[in-house]
Structures are given as structure tokens and as C-alpha cells.
Amino acid sequence: MSAESRRALEAIIMVTDSPLEAQMLAQLTEQSLSEVESQLAELAAEFAEQGRGFQLAHVAGGWRFQSHPDMAPYVERFVLEGQSAKLSAAALETLAIVAYKQPLSRAQIAAIRGVSVDSVVRTLEQRGYIGEVARDPGPGQAVLFGTTPLFLERLGINSLADLPSVAEFVPGADVVEALEQGLRVDAGGPVETPAAVDDSRPALTELLDGDGPA
């Protein structure tokens, strides 16, 4: 494999916070999918052979660096003794998006973050900070996520209305598009607030104005 593309793959995967699909990596390094896939496999084998404390792993449909399972006792100790017991930047951002834009689907979160969010969403769900609050009325009936009472409790607030306003902040065009995309595909017409959604949650139509919870 070319040294340049190998180095590029290592660099990109090192700095992204969720697994990256091979397709995306192929695009970023301007190579074919099959070239990238064989490079990634070769690279993963190389790190394994060198007996590194980390692995290049294929998880959740993407590639990422992660600690080697053999080293779990050290990482566990780090979690318990160190200051590491907190959400990653990626997880915190995902949680913030759900808090301000709920209810929204996994696909909408992924479109806003620009990366796959499956593992992060799973973590947040497991910890009880977000949960299913409705089903998309459209054909796919996608799960729509929202924050839970536990989330409010841990932040020490009574309702979503207590979140600091982001009204003066204008999100990027890609964010607005990601949310619109969900609407067009799912409903195709004027959207009504899904019946099951708590009234305190802003409707999607409100969200398109770019505001946070009223």
C-alpha cells in the first residue's frame, strides 16, 4: 500500500470520534473502496502483529482505534481512579442535539453530526439519558428520541424550558437541511406533532426556525 494513503487513514481514524465507514475513508483518501478495505485489513494486522495496546477495529459498520481487550484492566482502573468517567465530546454533543432538537430520529442525528452515531446513541440510551419518545408517523416508523426525566434530574433542572437559550445562535445550513430532510421523507406535507409527544417538547415545525425549546 502507498505510505501516503496508509498514513492518511491512520490520521483520519485517530481523530474521529465514531467509527468511520470504509466508503467515507475511500472518499477522503481518493481511493477505491476495495483498495481502502484491503489497506485497513493490512493495517489492523500490522498493529496486532506489533503487539500494540490498541487495535484498529471494525465495529458498528465502521473503523476505529480502540484499546486492546487485553488491556481492559488498566483502562478500568483508569476509569475508576482517573478523571475519565465522563461522556466523550462526541457523546455530549449527541446528547445536546437530542436535548435541543427532540424528538428526532437516529438518522437525523447522524445527518447533523456527519458521522454514524449508533454506538453513541446506544450508550446514551443505556445510561438512561435519552429514550424513545415517539414513532415517526412516516413509512419507516423510525424511533424518535428525546431526553428522559433522569437527564433533567442529573442536570438539576425541572423542564427542558430551563435549558439555556440558543435562539440567537444560527445553526449551519447542513443542520437545517438534515432536519428538513426528515420531514420531507417522513411526512411529505405539513407536519403535526406526533400524538405521543409530550406537549412540553417543541414540534418539528418550530425546530425548523432554528430555535431551541421555547
Binding site: 455530549l92 439519558y129 442536570l155
Partner: protein, 259 residues
Amino acid sequence: MPYEVQTPVFEGPFDLLLHLILREQVDLYEVSLSRIVDAYLQEIERMEVLDLEITTEFLLIAATLVELKCKRLLPEDTDVDIDDEFALWEERDLLIARLLDCKTFKDAAGVISTLFDAAALSAPRTAGLEERFMELAPDLLEGVDLDDIRNAYIRATIPKPRPVVSIEHIHSIRISVTDAVEELIDELPRLGRVTFRRLTGTLVERLEIVVRFLAVLELFKQGFVELDQPAAFGDIEIIWLGSPAMAVADLSDIDSYEG
């Protein structure tokens, strides 16, 4: 031509003085002192809270400048009090020390800027813990407050800079100074007197304006027009001197410019 001190460009009086002395090599004697003093006073006005210490220092500096200048404008007084003379030198040395301090940190800022740029080429790994270790922690929101959530949201949804390939420069225009001269010879006799800004008011391409400027200079060289610019960077006034019947000298060697 009077020396125009463009105060808004400068970061305050020290910056202004440094610029005048070091880069422009302007003799203090030639600078309108009132402008520097004005800059000091403006700075004092701009302060949100009147800080007596800074204000006093400003006044001291301004006073030193005034005194230095007076000394150089007035015929020498033979009865100079030697103590006053020394006091002035001391003030001057103090001012120089302050200017040197200011210059030192200007240069240090350059290095810091370079370090910022170099470091920006590397991105840190921020992925954090893998999910399987998350369960070990009792509360992952420990220490997270509302502002953290808000900042995380803004970080996640901030408009992302996208690399844009500018194609503006591809659009090429071809104009020659000869054509511009001919246009001016047609236009100027009717106008008689016109400012350069008005003359180029309808042009959008910078190159067109440049070519027109070259054409004006060409006419000036050949004695067709008189130019007047009362202030540096001020508008240039063009006054037509010739008559429409006058023949234009050989313009064949004037270049054309391609954008």
C-alpha cells in the same frame, strides 16, 4: 502634503507612535502633534471605566510629546533651567522604554501566532472511552452543567467551514489602456472636471479600475489633464486641459492587460 494620521488603523497611541517613528521614519517635527494627542484623548474616552492611573500615564506621554515638540520649534532659550531639561530627558527615556516594551510584545505575538498555526495542523484524539467501559462510571453527567450542554450543541451544529474553490479569477477580462485612453478622450472634454471615484463608479472589476488609472496617468504624462489629490488616499480630481481636437500622441506602445 499634510501627513494623514489614520488613527482607527492603529491599536492606540503606542502603536501609532511606533509606526510613525520606526516604519514611516517620520520626524516628530513633521507630525501634527494635535493628531497624536487627539488619539490619546479618544482612547481615554473609549475606556469603559476611567482608570485614573492609565489616564494619568496617557496625559504624561502626551505632555512629553508636546514638550519635545515645543523644544524643537522654539528658538533656544539661553536661560534653560537645567533641571527642567533633565526632567524632559527622563520623560523621554521613559517613553522610549514604554515603546520598546510595546514593540517586544508585538514581536512575541508573532511567534505565538506561528505556534498556533503549526499546532492547528495536528488534531487531537478526542474519541474518549469505549462504550464497554462507560458502565463502570456511576454518573457520566457528573460535572456537566447547562452551559456545557449548550456549548456542545453549538459545537455540533455550528456552520462548518467548507473548502471552497474560488472560480472568480477564471473569469477573464481583457482591456487595453489604449481603449481606456480613447474612452477618456471622448468623455473628459464633456465633463471638464471629474473625480477619479466618479469616473470609475460604475466599474466592478478591479483590473478595469487599474487600467483606467493607468490611462489617466498616460493622459497626465502627455499634458492632457491636470491631477489634484488634496489628501493622501483622498479622491483624485482630474481636470481636462486639452481640446477635443488635439491629437493624441502615439499610443501604440501602451500595453494591454489581461485579467
